[in-house]
Structures are given as structure tokens and as C-alpha cells.
């Protein structure tokens, strides 16, 4: 490798000087070899000592290229420099600082046998002499040191060094020199200071120590240049971090992700929060944990009515409200819909008697706190239902048991099957099948058994395990078998004859708690955004479910993909309880105050496409993904170029099938046929999808909840999949 220009010129100067004094022409070669060895030795024995190349050159020369002697000098120097409390590391940004080698020179391949034999002859006598040399203490003292009395071992060279005013041109402060871009520019210095000001709030994990906080991106790049050249005289570096390699990895990590130098919360705060979370979880292990429960089923199966009635029976809604709803619904000629009105609150929904949006409500049983998500059953609103199912941990599938009711929902175009598959595809494993409206068939056991056996076969085929499926009969409108018989009027005699199983409330209570990713970075998918009516001026109310991690009041969070940073003003659980923090799985409302944007802009851009995340580890948006899908079959086979609607979480984006990579054997997961021409029902395949706009997704392996997606076409779900790769 050719040495850098500056260094070669240094050598040339020295040549002239030393030539007269009887040094060989190949002085620079000897010097280089010695330097390499010296760096190696220093790296091995005293990695903590920071020194500059010209210092090293001085030491080597003064000890007549004896490595041990030079090391002794270096040790003396380091003692002195620490006593002066002016470590060079603290001021890498100073433009006057002269050339320094990177402290970790391990990347430089150094032959250990390069020690020239000529120098060894004079080793011992020179070593004693070198100890008298004044040691360069700091950067500013450099010039003075160079003019200091030379070592006795080379008395003849002393005059030449001192007479030459600038043996190392770059180390003189007053010389005008071109900016060589190896040092930070004034702009860099300013941005560096700004960065430092921000990083004070940062947790310690990203900054190895206070002194190592300085290596900025530019320095990392410089370091890489050094590695590339790996010259014997690596003079082009101002990096002085004690652990350059760690600094480099930090830089790489930072460049790979979104550039945001904001931490969600400090390290101390995180520890504190984790402790309080784990303690509260330990204490509540015997108590209650939180589950998101989605209610699905074919349109008019009685989802809203059943759940409204359940809420009433559990005391979440008072009798007065129900009576009011009853009166009003009668006025509109929708007499039997009053329980549904508990969850269907908008005018359109009440007018038409159809749920449109996912209604959220809350209730508690003995062992769990539930967020109840009442999904719409109508086929047009399956996108909304998917948004609800994406938040869910467990599900209730309401099946219409009335004559023809079950058949309508189950056969041909009904939503019973589609919903069951969708809910499973979104990661729900525990499900209750509530067979509703059995009063219409006089609680016929035969009817119940027929439906159960049909459903059992279908659910097994859809990927549910039998022990996770509970069947029960009920009557939502009249409130039969919703709550334990002790609290209710008791079961009708026809039902009592044959049914001994749990009521809906008991079955719901028997759900197992869900796994929570508290350790992972904070992720929360946005379901709804509202401008709060009062009390929270300057804030937006964002609701959704936390997918992983946790969030606390006063945290800074990032709104991906826009990169807006917001601070959390307050957190509401169950729409009302103000809490200090919330963890993965909680369904919460966050009051967000925008930090680097305006409220109006945030309101305009914040939608269900967005994911709230930890600004230190933000989620990336991508418009092209590779995923593995299972095809449910649709109107047409899946071919490349097909326009579809892409659903993940609550978002819905037009997308295109880009390529069909290969089919996958469902049993083994091994690829079978490469480049299939089309995918039809039952196929499992790896495909690439291009989404019109970038969406925030994670690999399924990293974050399960954020790695699932569904493909729909013509109002039908044609495939469900998981993200393998973000391209």
C-alpha cells in the first residue's frame, strides 16, 4: 500500500536530515516495520494507552527502533497525560489535533518478524538513555516536544531536528494547510455538539462510556477508510475512542435504521419500569391479566346482542340504559336490537341494525380483564373485522343456530368460515363457539350436536386444536347461558335436560393468558385517532393495542413511517383509567403531544397505517415483502401481476403480486415446485408482494403480531401469510 501523501513527505524530510547522520536510505522502511511492531505490541500489552503516530515515531527513534524502549516511553507518557487530566480522547474534534493512529490497530495485519536485525545490536545501551527524554504530554505540547533535547544515543541528529522548524508539517498550529477532510469541519463540530446534547438523555447501552460518546458517523467512516488503506503508517485518523470497533458497530447499527437520536426513556427509567412491571405481574399472577377478545361470526348471528347482553349481565351497563335503548329501538322499529346498541353506537349502525366498526368495550371476570372487540359480520366490513381480529388474543365465534341460520352462515358465501379462518390467521388459537338462537329450535340437542360436529370438523381443518375450542349453547337476546346459572334466571328446562357445560362468562374466564413480548422494543399499531374533546389540549388521542414492549407516561415515541416524535402525555386503559405505564397486550388510548411536528400535521397523517414505536429502534417501512402464504382460494387463481388488497393490522393497502417464487410442502415446509404459474386453493407458497405505499411490517420471526398479513380480492380473503423478509 502506498503511504499517504502527508506521511511520505514527512519521511522525505526525515531522509534528508538523517541521511547526513549516517542513517540508511531505507530509514522509512525500517521505521515502518518498527512502527507496525510497536502498534502491535501496544495493542497487546497496553491497549488503554492512546498515542499519536508522530509520538510513536519519536519514541521509536529515540530508543533507536527498540520496541521495548518505545513502550516504556509510551507508558511514561500515558502516566503523565492522565495526571494532567487532559486525555486526548476528550478532544477529537479539535481541528488542531495532529495525526493519530486508530487505537485499535488489530485490523492491520502485522508480521511479527519484521523487526530489523540492524536495530537489535544497539538495543541495550539505548534503552537506558531513552528514559531521560521529556515525554510529550498533550497535543498542544507537540511542537515543543519535538524541539526538545534529543536522545543521547543520536547526538548528531539533535541539531538537525531542532534546526528543522517543521519536521512534521501537519503538527504545527500556525501553518496554513488545506483542509483534508479527515478532521471534523466546523459544521461537523456543531452537529456533533447537538448530537451530544441529545444523547445525554440516551440510555447507556448505546454509549459505551462518556469518552466514547464522541465518535460520530463521520469518524466511523474515516475509520473504515483507514481499514481499507491499511497503510503501514495510518496517519489519517483523528479517532481516539478507546474502543473503535464498538464505535463502528454502533455507527453501522445507526445507519441501518432510521436516524433518530431520541430514546424512548432513559436506561434508569427503563429499569425502574421493568421492575415495577415484573412486580405487578408477580402480584397479579393470582389475580387478573388482560386479554383482547374478539367476537366474530356471520352477519345477524347475534354477536352484538349477545355481547351487549353479557355486558349488561356482568354489570357493565346499567338497567336504566338498557331500558332507554329498548324504548328508542322500538321507536325505530328495531325492537330486538337494544342490547346490540350497547356496542353499536353510531347512527348508521343503529338505523340499519348492522355493526360497521369494531366496537370496543371492557369487562372483567374472576381471572381476566377483557377488552371486548365486537367485530362486524357483514361481508363488506371484513376489512374492519380484520383490524379487530389483529388485536385479539382470544375469540368468540357466534353461530346462528336458528333454522337455516347456521346453514346461511356456514355454507356458500357465509362469513362463519371466513371469520374463523381469518381469526386463526391473525394468530388466535383459543376460541369459543357460541351457538346462538337455540331457543328458536326449542333447545333441541340434536340441532346443537349437528352444528357442533360440523364446526368441529371445519375448525380442525382450519388449524384449531380441539382442546382450545369450547362449544356452548346460548341465547343472546334472552340472556340464556350467558352468566353462571346462580346469577341468572337459570336455564330453560329443555336445555337443562342435556346441557351441563359452562356458561359464556365461565368459558371466557377459562381462557389461558396470552404470551406477551415485554422485553422487545415498543410497538403499537394504531387503530383509531381522535382529537380529544377537552382536557387534553395540544394532544391527540391514539388508540390501539400494544404489540410488544411497554410504554410509560413521558416516554418519547416515534410514529412510523413518518418519523414524527411524540411524547406520551397520559395513558388510558379501558378508556378511562389513567395509568402510569402499559405493557404488551394492553388495549390503550395514548394522549400524544407532537415534538417535531404540529398537531394538525400529525392529525392529518396519523392513520391506521402507522405504528408507534421506540425511537431508538424504530420499525422500518417497506413496500415490497417476501412472504409465505396459504391460499384459501378465491374467484380466480393467484397469478403474478394480480391486483389485490393487502391487509395487516388495521391497515388496508392496494398491492400487487410480484412473483410466485416456489410452492411449499405444507407438512415439511420444504420448497417443492419452483416458479409455479398460478396458485389455487390449498397451495402454500412463497411469494413477493409489492404494496403501493410503504407499510410498517416486521418479520414474523421477530414480531409475530406485526408479521402477519392477509390478501383479499373482490371482497374475499384469498390468502393469509407471514412476512419472511422485508425487501
Amino acid at each position: 500500500m502506498p503511504p499517504k501523501k502527508t506521511s511520505s513527505s514527512v519521511d522525505d524530510d526525515d531522509f534528508d536530515d538523517y541521511d547526513n547522520d549516517g542513517y540508511d536510505d531505507d530509514d522509512s522502511e525500517v521505521l515502518n516495520a518498527a512502527l507496525e511492531e510497536f502498534y502491535d505490541a501496544m495493542e497487546d500489552e497496553h491497549p488503554e494507552i492512546i498515542f499519536k503516530e508522530d509520538e510513536a515515531v519519536t519514541w521509536l527513534r529515540s530508543s533507536n527502533y527498540d520496541i521495548d524502549g518505545a513502550i516504556t516511553l509510551a507508558l511514561n507518557k500515558s502516566k503523565k497525560s492522565t495526571s494532567t487530566k487532559k486525555p486526548a480522547a476528550s478532544k477529537p474534534a479539535a481541528p488542531s489535533s495532529s495525526k493519530q493512529p486508530p487505537s485499535s490497530s488489530s485490523s492491520k495485519p502485522t508480521p511479527t518478524t519484521s523487526k530489523p536485525s540492524t536495530t537489535t545490536t544497539t538495543t541495550t545501551n539505548k534503552q537506558a538513555a531513552t528514559k531521560n527524554i521529556p515525554i510529550p504530554a498533550s497535543v498542544s505540547a507537540m511542537g515543543k516536544d519535538l524541539c526538545a533535547p534529543p536522545p543521547q544515543a543520536s547526538p548528531s541528529s539533535s541539531t538537525s531536528i531542532s534546526s528543522s522548524p517543521t519536521p512534521f508539517p501537519t503538527s504545527t498550529d500556525d501553518a496554513i494547510k488545506p483542509f483534508d477532510f479527515t478532521e471534523p469541519s466546523p459544521d461537523d463540530l456543531i452537529s456533533e455538539k447537538q448530537r451530544q446534547a441529545f444523547s445525554k438523555k440516551k440510555d447507556g447501552s448505546t454509549n459505551t462510556s462518556s469518552s466514547s460518546s464522541t465518535p460520530s458517523t463521520t469518524e466511523g467512516i474515516k475509520y473504515k477508510q483507514n481499514v481499507k488503506t491499511s497503510a503501514p503508517l495510518p496517519t489519517l485518523s483523528s479517532s481516539s475512542a478507546p474502543s473503535t470497533s464498538s464505535a463502528k458497530s454502533n455507527v453501522v447499527e445507526k445507519m441501518a435504521t432510521l436516524k433518530l437520536d431520541v430514546a424512548q426513556h432513559s436506561a434508569g427509567r427503563r429499569k425502574e419500569l421493568l421492575e415495577s412491571i415484573s412486580s405487578s405481574m408477580a402480584s397479579s399472577s393470582a389475580g387478573k391479566d388482560h386479554l383482547n377478545l374478539v367476537v366474530v361470526g356471520h352477519v345477524d348471528a347475534g354477536k352484538s346482542t349477545t355481547m351487549g347482553h353479557l355486558l349488561f349481565r356482568l354489570g357493565q351497563v346499567d338497567a336504566k340504559t338498557i331500558a332507554k335503548y329498548e324504548r328508542e329501538s322500538q321507536k325505530r322499529g328495531k325492537a330486538s336490537f337494544h342490547y346490540a346498541w350497547v356496542l353499536d353506537q353510531s347512527e348508521t349502525e343503529r338505523d340499519k341494525g348492522v355493526t360497521i366498526h369494531v366496537g370496543a368495550s371492557h369487562f372483567s371476570t374472576d381471572h381476566h380483564d377483557f377488552t371486548l372487540l365486537d367485530a362486524p359480520g357483514h361481508r363488506d366490513y371484513v376489512p374492519n373485522m380484520i383490524g379487530g381480529a389483529a388485536q385479539a388474543d382470544v375469540a368468540i365465534l357466534v353461530v346462528d343456530g336458528a333454522p337455516n341460520g347456521f346453514e346461511n352462515g356456514f355454507m356458500c358465501d357465509g362469513q362463519t368460515k371466513e371469520h374463523a379462518i381469518l381469526v386463526r390467521s391473525m394468530g388466535v388459537v383459543q376460541i369459543i363457539v357460541a351457538i346462538n338462537k337455540l331457543d328458536m329450535v326449542q333447545w333441541s340437542e340434536e340441532r346443537y350436536d349437528t352444528i357442533v360436529s360440523e364446526m368441529k370438523g371445519f375448525l380442525k381443518q382450519s388449524g384449531y386444536i380441539e382442546k382450545n375450542v369450547t362449544f356452548l349453547p346460548c341465547d343472546g337476546l334472552h340472556g340464556v347461558n350467558l352468566v353462571p346459572p346462580a346469577n341468572s334466571d337459570g336455564l330453560p328446562s329443555e336445555l337443562k335436560e342435556w346441557y351441563t357445560g359452562p356458561s359464556l362468562a365461565e368459558a371466557v374466564d377459562a381462557f389461558r393468558p396470552a404470551d406477551r413480548n415485554i422485553e422487545k422494543s415498543f410497538r403499537m399499531s394504531v387503530v383509531d385517532v381522535v382529537k380529544p374533546a377537552q382536557g387534553l389540549s395540544g394532544a391527540l388521542l391514539v388508540s390501539g393495542k400494544i404489540d410488544s414492549g411497554f410504554v410509560a407516561v413521558n416516554d418519547k415515541i416515534c410514529v412510523s413511517p413518518m418519523g414524527h416524535v411524540c411524547s406520551v402525555k397520559s395513558i388510558f386503559k379501558s378508556h378511562k383509567d389513567n395509568v402510569e405505564y402499559a405493557i404488551a397486550g394492553d388495549n390503550i388510548d395514548l394522549a400524544l403531544v407532537p415534538q417535531n411536528t404540529t398537531l394538525d400535521l400529525l392529525l392529518a397523517t396519523l392513520s391506521s397505517r402507522c405504528i408507534l414505536c421506540d425511537p431508538a429502534h424504530p420499525i422500518q417501512s417497506s413496500s415490497r415483502i417476501r412472504g409465505q402464504i396459504v391460499v384459501f382460494g378465491g374467484r380466480v387463481p393467484i397469478t403474478p401481476g394480480m391486483a389485490i388488497t393487502f391487509h395487516a393490522q388495521s391497515l388496508e393497502e392496494p398491492a400487487k403480486i410480484k412473483t410466485l417464487l416456489h410452492l411449499v410442502d405444507k407438512a415439511t415446509g420444504q420448497p417443492t415446485k419452483q416458479k409455479p404459474r398460478a396458485l389455487v386453493e390449498g397451495h402454500a407458497a412463497v411469494i413477493e408482494v409489492v404494496i403501493d405505499r410503504g407499510v410498517c411490517l416486521e418479520k414474523f420471526a421477530d414480531y409475530r403480531g406485526l408479521g402477519r398479513f392477509l390478501l383479499r380480492d373482490h371482497g374475499k380473503t384469498i390468502a393469509a401469510g407471514v412476512v419472511l423478509e422485508l425487501l
Binding site: 353510531s346 340499519k352 360497521i356 363488506d380 381522535v530 392513520s607 387463481p637 403474478p640 401481476g641 404459474r677
Partner: protein, 319 residues
């Protein structure tokens, strides 16, 4: 498109002189011309000249150039097509073989010469120059908080406006007001966009399509507002509105809207409907009997070569 001159001999060689007048004409041109054809049109070119003092001077000169088409660049939304290739006509300013790009725009005459005008090209030419207009329609594909206003011509769909706003969903009584307010604001934006982009004197029908009740609520709101503000254009054309179902508010739902019987019966046969039908047929074959359905240039060519193709094989090349 206006056919100004047509000179095609019985071998099929010859040229036509055309003037595109509508956005759709460019679409036809895009399909009419192919690499290898010669295109003649007026165009501008920057010519560098040395003046008396020896300095280089660049001049914008209007020329009539003929190029051999190599590349065609067309964006249906932009109403402009860029065609490039080497110059094949003698000219005092430009050497033969020098590359040039001709911009085709509306109302700009041009001549296309082909070595062979085949039946496909001639049919396309007939269709494009037929004065009897195909049904022009407009469509609004919408959902809550998302709407696409587009124009449907005989052979293409042009997206005119995309309206997207965030509408809060239901969360308690407090935000219900917010939902209603936001949705009305959204409706107003769509109405405004309809008035701006749709020319009711041209279009024969305006399709309002959405899942659920959005379309009905929107129609009701639009007509109420029209009454209140006395927007005569909406009131007079009330009969042109056609409210249909779609599975989503995205553009690609238009495909299913155009295929639905209530739309296709009302509109004169648009090409889109026919194409959707052909595509569906193809897909049905692909699903039921994959060995008889082919797509892609290679596969179709192979099928054609082996003489196994017949009418039942839909030949669709992915663009």
C-alpha cells in the same frame, strides 16, 4: 382522433396522418405504433452552432423530423407520450441516425408509417378514429375516508383525484361527533372533486361505488347539499348517478364494478367490461384446467407453435 390522411397500399404498406384530440387517443396511439415504425412530426431540437466570433451558440429550432421508433414512453395520466429513435430523414440541422425524442401531445398532428399494417393495427385505427363516441362515464370508488374519482373512457380509466382523510371510528359518545364531522367533511371534499373533474355534459353516467352504506349516505349528503346550495349541475344530472356495490374503496375495485350487470347494462359496452370478462374466462381455465391456460410471451408462443391453441385459450400477456 381525427384521421387526416390515410395511404395504405394493398400490400399493407403505407402511412396515416392523425391528430389526437382526447386523452384516450394517446392510449390508442400507444397501442397502434410499435418499434420499427416511422414517425413524422413537428418537433423542437436544440442545435449547437458556432457563430462568427467562434463561440458556441445553442438554438432551439422547429423541425419536421422522421424517426424510426425505438422506445415509447407513455403515462396514461399525463396526456403526453415521448417517442425516441434515430432520425431517418435528411435535414440541414440534424444528422441521419442521430437520436431524437418526439413528444406527442393532444392536437398535435403526426404521421405514422408502417411496413405492414396488419388487421390488429387497422382495427385499432378504425376504433380510434370512429367519431361515434363510446360511452364516457365517471366513477367514484369510495369507502370511509378514501375515495378515487376517475374517468372511464372506452378503453381506459384515468384517475383524476384521490381523496384520503382520517376518519375516527367509534369510541364512546364523545368521539362519535368527531366521526360524523369528519365523514361529512370527507363527503364535501368528494363532492368538490366531482364538480371539478367530471364534465356532466360529456359523461353519460357517474358511478358511485362503495362497500356498505357509504355510497347511499354520500348520495344523500351530496343531494341535500346540492339542494341547499342550489348546485344546479348536480341537481340536473341526478339521473346520471348510478349507485353500486364494490368490495373496497381502492381503484382496482373498478374492475368488479364494470363487470357488474347493473353497470354494464347502463353503459354502452365499454372495452373494460369485455376485457374483464375475457380475463375471468382465462382465470377460470387456469383454475380448472391449468394445462390449457397460458400466460406470458414464452408460454403463449410455445402453445401457438405447437398448434394446440384454440379459441378456448385466452392469450393474455402480462404487461
Amino acid at each position: 382522433m381525427k384521421l387526416l390522411k390515410k395511404s395504405i397500399d394493398k400490400d399493407g404498406m403505407g402511412f396515416v396522418h392523425l391528430r389526437p384530440e382526447e386523452a384516450e387517443d394517446l392510449w390508442h396511439i400507444y397501442h397502434l405504433i410499435a418499434p420499427g415504425d416511422q414517425l413524422t412530426s413537428k418537433t423542437f431540437r436544440r442545435i449547437q452552432k458556432e457563430n462568427a466570433s467562434g463561440n458556441m451558440e445553442s438554438d432551439r429550432v422547429k423541425l419536421t423530423l422522421t424517426i424510426a421508433i425505438e422506445k415509447i414512453d407513455f403515462d396514461p395520466g399525463q396526456e403526453e407520450m415521448r417517442i425516441s429513435g434515430p432520425c431517418v430523414s435528411e435535414n440541414q440541422h440534424i444528422k441521419m441516425g442521430a437520436y431524437h425524442t418526439i413528444d406527442l401531445a393532444l392536437n398535435k398532428n403526426f404521421t405514422v408509417a408502417k411496413h405492414e399494417w396488419d388487421s390488429v393495427a387497422l382495427t385499432r385505427l378504425d376504433e380510434a378514429t370512429n367519431i361515434e363516441k363510446n360511452a364516457d362515464a365517471a366513477a367514484v370508488v369510495m369507502n370511509e375516508g378514501l375515495a378515487h374519482v376517475c374517468l372511464i373512457t372506452g378503453s381506459m380509466t384515468i384517475l383524476r383525484a384521490r381523496i384520503e382523510c382520517s376518519v375516527p371510528k367509534k369510541k364512546g359518545a364523545a368521539s362519535l361527533a368527531g366521526h360524523d364531522k369528519a365523514i361529512l367533511k370527507f363527503y364535501d371534499q368528494v363532492v368538490e372533486s366531482i364538480l371539478r373533474h367530471i364534465r356532466f355534459d360529456i359523461v353519460k353516467a357517474v358511478i358511485i361505488a362503495s362497500p356498505g352504506y357509504v355510497r347511499d349516505n354520500f348520495m344523500q349528503h351530496m343531494m341535500e347539499e346540492a339542494q341547499r346550495k342550489a348546485t344546479s349541475v348536480l341537481l340536473e344530472n341526478k339521473a346520471k348517478f348510478l349507485v353500486v356495490h364494490s368490495s373496497s374503496g381502492h381503484m382496482h375495485s373498478l374492475k368488479e364494478i364494470l363487470a357488474s350487470p347493473e353497470v354494464s347494462s347502463k353503459l354502452a359496452d365499454t372495452k373494460a367490461a369485455g376485457e374483464v370478462k375475457a380475463l375471468d374466462e382465462f382465470y377460470a381455465t387456469l383454475r380448472d384446467d391449468p394445462s390449457r391456460a397460458f400466460y406470458g410471451w414464452g408460454h403463449v408462443k410455445a402453445a401457438n407453435d405447437s398448434k394446440s391453441s384454440n379459441n378456448s385459450i385466452a392469450r393474455i400477456c402480462e404487461r
